[in-house]
């Protein structure tokens, strides 16, 4: 009796397994798609998800230059931490573009990236943006700045700083808003506690947070200016507010030790006004090593009306009153001063980070 059904069951299971395997193969092939034509060299770009559109535009421009003629690109985009771990584990890359410098440091430790990667005038930074507050159409809750986020009844959506390295910019902005404006660390800790109590959705990536917010969850989305602008360009925009004090987001880029020679000229091109112009068109703030975060569109050959999708079309990248940077406010671009202190997860018996604890406490308090 039981013989027959078991066979059928097994067959079904095999079908399911085969189906899953096929889906996985199709998915993988879709990821590693080529772009461009020509014959010379191929540069493998491994990056976090957000700058894909910008990098594509820069690649098209690069192909028009003498150094870039005929260079082909192989690209892979995904969550910053995942991409970094993939390269560490052997994913072929000539150039990495990651959300946080710590994801490049992982590759330095693995011996894949030269330790001097962040010693140039740009300190390893290839693209910049700022943390903004996404709000509902017309800003019905009248959100102006960080203080409004801890008011009762305000629901906040953010990617989870514990599981998404990229979301750590949000937490730094919230923390720095207190410490930069005369508050103590105790007050900043207190603020984070209140903020996470108002969080209704802690997603695992910035993209998921945006999806949840657009799906109707929450009143405020902790977002990045470039994502807000790009979303608007793609017809999925939301209003956003730039708080008086916010954080400069600095995305790291580096070439690997054994990269193809063209990768070096690619990195130079990315950092050139021509490369930064493409970033600006997709919503990033063009690099400004002299005054980080301050935008001079003319320096990259653009005018305000070229940037589509910004909240204020006349001034797409407005000056921020108090702009926090890793260098000036958080002890340097390597995250060393804040990584464990704010985000540590308590492994090896180290104390649990302040943000990690605030997130855990937020759940317990509302039980």
């Amino acid at each position: 009796m039981s013989k027959q059904p078991r066979n059928l069951g097994t067959r079904r299971r095999w079908l399911a397994v085969a189906g899953a395997a096929t889906a996985a193969v199709v998915g993988l092939t879709a990821c590693g798609s080529d772009s461009g034509g020509g014959s010379d060299e191929t540069i493998s770009i491994v990056g976090f998800a957000v700058p894909e559109a910008a990098n594509k535009a820069i690649a098209a421009e690069f192909n028009k230059t003498d150094e870039g003629k005929g260079v082909r690109f192989k690209t892979s985009y995904g969550a910053s931490g995942d991409q970094s771990r993939a390269v560490e584990a052997g994913l072929k890359a000539d150039y990495v573009h990651l959300s946080v410098a710590t994801d490049v440091d992982r590759l330095v430790k693995a011996g894949l990236v030269d330790p001097s990667w962040n010693t140039g005038p740009n300190k390893g930074i290839v693209s910049t943006s700022i943390v903004v507050l996404g709000v509902r159409k017309g800003n019905p809750k009248n959100i102006k700045g960080w203080d409004d986020l801890i008011k009762p009844g305000v629901e906040v959506v953010t990617a989870n700083p514990a599981s998404s390295g990229a979301a750590r910019w949000n937490a730094l902005a919230a923390w720095g808003n207190i410490t930069r404006n005369g508050g103590t660390e105790a007050q900043a800790t207190d603020y984070l506690g209140k903020l996470f109590k108002n969080v209704v959705s802690l997603t695992n990536s910035g993209r998921d947070a945006t999806t949840a917010f657009l799906g109707g969850t929450g009143d405020v989305l902790l977002a990045y200016e470039n994502e807000a602008i790009l979303a608007a360009q793609n017809g999925q925009g939301f209003d956003y507010v730039i708080p008086d004090t916010t954080m400069l987001i600095e995305n790291a880029g580096a070439i690997l030790k054994d990269s193809t020679p063209a990768a070096k000229s690619w990195l130079d091109f990315v950092l050139s006004p021509e490369g930064q112009k493409q970033f600006a068109l997709k919503g990033f703030r063009p690099l400004n090593t002299a005054a980080p975060g301050t935008v001079d569109l003319a320096s990259v050959g653009l005018k305000a009306s070229d940037i589509k999708g910004a909240a204020d079309p006349a001034d797409p990248f407005p000056a921020v009153k108090h702009l926090l940077t890793l260098d000036t406010d958080f002890g340097g671009g390597d995250w060393g001063a804040v990584k464990d202190k704010l985000f540590g997860d308590g492994k090896d018996g180290k104390p649990v980070g302040i943000v990690t604890k605030a997130i855990a406490d937020s759940g317990k308090a509302s039980e």
Partner: protein
């Protein structure tokens, strides 16, 4: 090791079974199966457990007893168990309806019951978010609560028991039921003594799949659940957090615990299944 000789029984039975010669083709078949199974399952599983062990017992214990983690594990197991119980009843009922009843649209229902298998989980998550999220058009708002985890599990595990039970039910001889009825057995008795014992192995196998799938589920619930600690955060999200913090041993520890629990559940289901089947 010698087995004691039992009265009147030839001792040679077991050794003969163990020593029987494989034909060339079945030898190759066994070889390929073992190689395939090892590459895809045994070696990766061993690697996970080895990674967990690398952190040492203290680290393992600290990881899984971390308040936030253990709460996530409890929520996952509770929801998975509940979903499995619901599926045992509803899944069997759906299979029954599909096999025994004739109605308009049956063919269509047959087709779409597999959709949760075929749909990429993140798409499932999006659909669930738009249907049961804030401003739900159906008036059911479960987004960012523990219930959302339960709902997402229900969605992705629905086909398991249906598809396991259905073919068995099709093979079941209705004559036996009629004979039992003509002998005066009530419908309940017929179901309990004749149908259920035959279905038990299929239900148990489906339940095991359903539980195991739920325990590891991530994609379909991640948008809907909000991942709020102590409320709607599941084990797989904790694993992701550990990985993001370069805490591989921690991630593997949680995974190992889930593996062990899933294994135990499968064993328990098998024992129950044998009991029920024997009753027939």
């Amino acid at each position: 090791m010698t087995t004691p000789v039992q009265e009147g029984r030839p001792v040679a039975t077991r050794p003969a079974l163990l020593n029987h010669n494989l034909t060339a083709s079945s030898g190759i078949g066994l070889g390929i199966s073992m190689l395939w199974f090892s590459l895809l399952v045994l070696i990766p599983l061993a690697a996970v457990i080895a990674t967990a062990a690398a952190g040492g017992w203290d680290e393992f214990w600290r990881t899984i007893t971390n308040e936030q983690t253990s709460s996530a594990i409890k929520l996952t197991l509770k929801a998975a168990a509940l979903v499995t119980l619901v599926n045992i009843v509803i899944g069997t009922a759906i299979a029954w309806v599909l096999v025994r009843d004739k109605f308009w649209g049956k063919g269509l229902l047959e087709l779409i019951i597999d959709i949760p298998f075929a749909l990429p989980t993140i798409v499932a998550g999006l659909v669930l978010l738009s249907l049961y999220g804030v401003n739900s058009p159906l008036g059911i708002e479960v987004a960012n609560t523990g219930d959302s985890v339960f709902l997402a599990f229900l969605f992705v595990t629905l086909p398991f028991i249906v598809r396991m039970v259905q073919p068995v039910l099709e093979e079941l001889d209705e004559d036996v039921e009629e004979a039992a009825a003509s002998l005066g057995a009530s419908r309940v008795t017929i179901f309990r003594r004749i149908i259920l014992p035959s279905l038990a192995p299929a239900i148990a196998a489906g339940a095991a799949l359903s539980f195991a799938r739920a325990v590891g589920e991530y994609g379909s619930l991640v948008l809907l659940s909000g991942n709020l600690p102590f409320k709607s955060e599941v084990a797989s999200v904790r694993i992701l957090s550990a990985i993001e913090n370069d805490n591989r041993a921690g991630a593997a520890s949680i995974a190992t615990l889930l593996l062990v629990i899933s294994l135990l559940v499968i064993i328990v289901l098998d024992v129950v299944q044998r009991r029920v089947a024997r009753r027939g």
